[in-house]
């Protein structure tokens, strides 16, 4: 037996023509690429858009906030001076108080009402459910500017509907945008009108995810509907509720269009800044006052930090409830 015979084993499959393995290999390579990278490609559009319209503006704003920045002129680096200035800025704190005040006035009644409505809609005996669910969501579809303009007219001092109604029962006309309480009330009524239905639907979805047998068991044990609501619905609804609270927090901290249009477009929000919100103050400093754009950017970051803090607080509540 020759050596060559052993070293060259007869392969049962004839040596393949040269193009087959390369095609196979390329196929395997593409497959590998597909598995490895196409998921990134699928999610890329979101990240591209987020990068351009979310991340980049945030980083840029942070950069601006470290400068003394003139919108149409020069800028110079000043470190954290803008942030230290925030702490002694009376109007920043005023805007903070206004924002939280309007937030409380709009969120608390709104969520209570939403809870009540969701509970009603969740009843099995209710007829025309879809109609009611649609109807309750309608205000949310209306554009915020339209809502603010119409409500602004209703709350006008001279020719407004509410003052006319008040005059029928002998109450003096209220200068709605002239005082803190009245302006807060007017603005939060716009927010409530627009968002109650939305929150109702989310809470309703949460309620429908609660297993029915819990209620049945409770009913057998003789628990009243009221007791079922307190001891089953509410505890089971807590995660949904926290979600709704976080959403309302973000919306409430960024409140801008309603108070601005209520003030006829005046960025001060009332002659003594009775209802100037944080977002309005940011706009005043960052956009209206050309030479304090850097400070406006610092206000923007302060709003962001406040939202993070409040949301974190809510998140901790969820964690505790989950234990």
């Amino acid at each position: 037996m020759s050596l060559s015979a052993t070293t060259a084993p007869p392969s049962p499959a004839a040596p393949p023509s040269p193009d087959v393995p390369s095609r196979l290999r390329r196929g395997r390579f593409l497959n590998h690429l597909d598995v490895k990278y196409s998921p990134y490609l699928y999610i890329a559009p979101f990240f591209l858009i987020f990068g351009a319209f979310g991340l980049y503006p945030m980083v840029r704003t942070a950069w601006m906030s470290l400068h003394d920045w003139d919108m149409i002129g020069d800028h110079s680096f000043i470190g954290f001076d803008n942030y230290t200035r925030l702490f002694s800025d009376e109007y920043f704190w005023n805007a903070l108080v206004n924002t939280f005040g309007i937030f409380a006035l709009s969120t608390i009644p709104q969520l209570l009402l939403a809870l009540f409505l969701a509970n009603l809609l969740n009843r099995t005996f209710l007829r025309a459910k879809t109609f009611f669910r649609m109807a309750i969501f309608m205000p949310n579809v209306v554009s915020v500017a339209a809502v603010a303009i119409v409500f602004g007219m209703l709350f006008q001092r001279e020719f407004g509907l509410f003052n006319w109604l008040l005059s029928l029962v002998g109450v003096d006309p209220v200068d709605w945008d002239g005082q803190r309480w009245s302006s807060w009330f007017a603005i939060s009524s716009m927010v409530n009108w627009r968002w109650t239905g939305y929150n109702t639907l989310i809470l309703l979805a949460g309620m429908q995810a609660i297993p029915k047998d819990l209620y049945e068991a409770a009913a057998i044990d003789g628990a009243s509907p009221w007791r079922q609501f307190w001891q089953i619905t509410l505890p089971m609804l807590k995660p949904t509720f926290i979600f709704v609270v976080i959403l309302s927090t973000i919306g409430g901290m960024q409140l801008f269009t309603e108070p601005l249009l209520f003030a006829n477009g005046n960025i001060l929000g009332g002659s003594q800044r009775e209802f100037q919100t944080l977002a309005m103050y940011m706009y005043e400093m960052g956009i209206v006052n050309l030479n304090s754009a850097g400070y406006g950017a610092a206000v923007a970051w302060a709003i962001f930090m406040i939202i993070v803090l409040v949301s974190l607080f809510n998140f901790l509540l969820v964690r505790r409830s989950a234990k």
Binding site: M71, I72, E158, G265, S271, Q272, R273
Partner: protein, 429 residues
């Protein structure tokens, strides 16, 4: 692949994507200036309120073959942020941009945003009101704006309401009622009495505005642009005069719905009218009130509210042609035509002497000889030095404080305190 490397890669990819987008944005910023001498197909003109250019540019289009697009913004408050955006991003500005007095002053420290008109147009320095011409120059000497109009003050009043309240209605007799502000207040009280307690003027901020611009000296800034809002006698005078009028005021803030609705409802019988305001008064009052308004002189002689310039942004691709268009729009003939169309008062000396201007009567305002009335008051205007942030101090410090006093939210001393404090922050530049 470990989690960390995968994360790094992802981060790298995200970073690459962001840079790519940044690069894209940079690509959009093309700086393709047209070759010199190339004729533009179209020039864009940005104005606010009513400049009355609609018919004038048609003639220009016919003469030059260059199309002109007029972009109008109703209110100055909406116009300014757009302008700021154009300047801050370096794109979007019109070739010819109208600058109101307050905006011009605010933009002057950053004069390089604007083309120097000196080499682009011939010398017009002797053709306009001298003080108006001077204000168009930046501190660095470049000529930013060509004068369009001035806001020479008068009083618009409702004849029918005056008559019902037992006041005279003829414009000369009405002017004689108020040689000074005290007389104006007395007339207001008389009107209130005769009309059963109705308000006489729209708001006290309208009064402060009128008094401030009567040339009683420096206002919020001295000549070196130091803030003197709390010590300036002219400001104090305007404050005292305005606050004394609270009892005859309808408390309707200028431009608010209460204000524009008030013209039709007759919630006030008189308001201060720079000539550009005539078009706004007639629009707010509607055709039904035609012939009920008339024009009388302002207490205490002349005064000036507003007025504008035409400027060419440095970012315009056709600065030369744009400057020529601005020159055309501000020449005597155009200014007379604009006045007849919408009421902006000429600043071109030749236009002010023009027969068609002097002889012009306004049909809506009971055929008042507005050309003559405003033409005469132009001569009385005492130019006032306005600092860089005059507008901000006026709108965001003085007027809110006055409104707080007017509506009873703050007493006089507290409102003054609010004003002087805010003036310092609003006036800083």
């Amino acid at each position: 692949m470990s989690v960390t490397t995968r994360r790094t890669r992802l981060a790298a990819a995200a970073l690459a994507a962001i840079t790519a987008i940044g690069g894209l944005a940079a690509c959009g910023n093309d700086d393709d200036k047209p070759a010199a001498g190339e004729k533009p197909a179209k020039l864009v003109v940005d104005t606010f309120g009513e400049f009355g250019y609609d018919e004038i540019v048609k003639q220009y289009e016919k003469d030059t073959g260059i199309k002109v697009e007029l972009r109008k913004t109703a209110q100055l408050a909406e116009y300014r942020p757009k302008l700021v955006r154009y300047l801050a991003t370096g794109k979007g500005a019109a070739d010819v941009t109208a600058l109101e007095e307050g905006i011009l002053n605010e933009f002057k420290p950053n004069a390089r945003n604007w083309a120097d008109l000196n080499p682009l147009v011939s010398d017009h320095s002797k053709e306009f009101l001298p003080w108006k011409w001077e204000l168009g120059k930046a501190p660095d000497g470049r000529l930013i704006g060509l004068p369009t109009d001035v806001g020479s003050l008068a009083v618009c009043y409702r004849k029918d309401l005056f008559q019902a309240a037992g006041l005279p209605t003829e414009r000369d007799q009405v002017s004689a009622l108020w040689p000074d502000w005290q007389g104006f207040h007395d007339a207001g009280l008389k009107y209130k009495q005769g009309s059963g307690g109705k308000a006489f003027i729209d708001s006290i901020t309208a009064v402060s505005n009128g008094v401030m611009f009567q040339g009683n000296g420096d206002l919020f800034y001295d000549k070196e642009d130091n803030i003197i809002a709390d010590t300036s006698p002219a400001v104090k005078n305007a404050w005292d005069t305005a606050t004394s009028m609270a009892d005859i005021s309808a408390k309707a803030q200028t431009w608010s719905p209460e204000w524009s609705g008030g013209f039709k409802q007759g919630t006030f019988a008189a308001t201060f009218c720079p000539s550009w305001m005539l078009g706004i008064v007639s629009e707010n009052s509607g055709p039904a009130n035609k012939g009920k308004w008339d024009v009388a002189s302002v207490p205490g002689g002349g005064g000036n509210w507003g007025g504008s310039w035409l400027a060419v942004p440095a970012q315009s691709k056709y600065p030369k042609e744009a400057a020529k268009l601005a020159e055309y729009l501000t020449n005597a003939k155009s200014q007379v035509e604009a006045f007849k169309a919408k009421g902006p008062l000429p600043t071109n000396l030749e236009a002010l002497k023009n027969e068609a201007f002097i002889g012009y009567t306004n049909e809506y305002f009971s055929n008042a000889p507005t050309g003559k009335i405003f033409g005469e008051s132009v001569a009385k205007i005492q130019p006032t030095h306005l600092g860089p942030k005059h507008q901000a101090v006026k709108e965001n410090a003085l007027e809110p404080a006055l409104r707080a006093f007017e509506s009873g939210q703050a007493d006089k001393a507290k409102a003054w305190e609010q004003f002087t404090k805010d003036a310092k922050t609003q006036g800083a530049f």
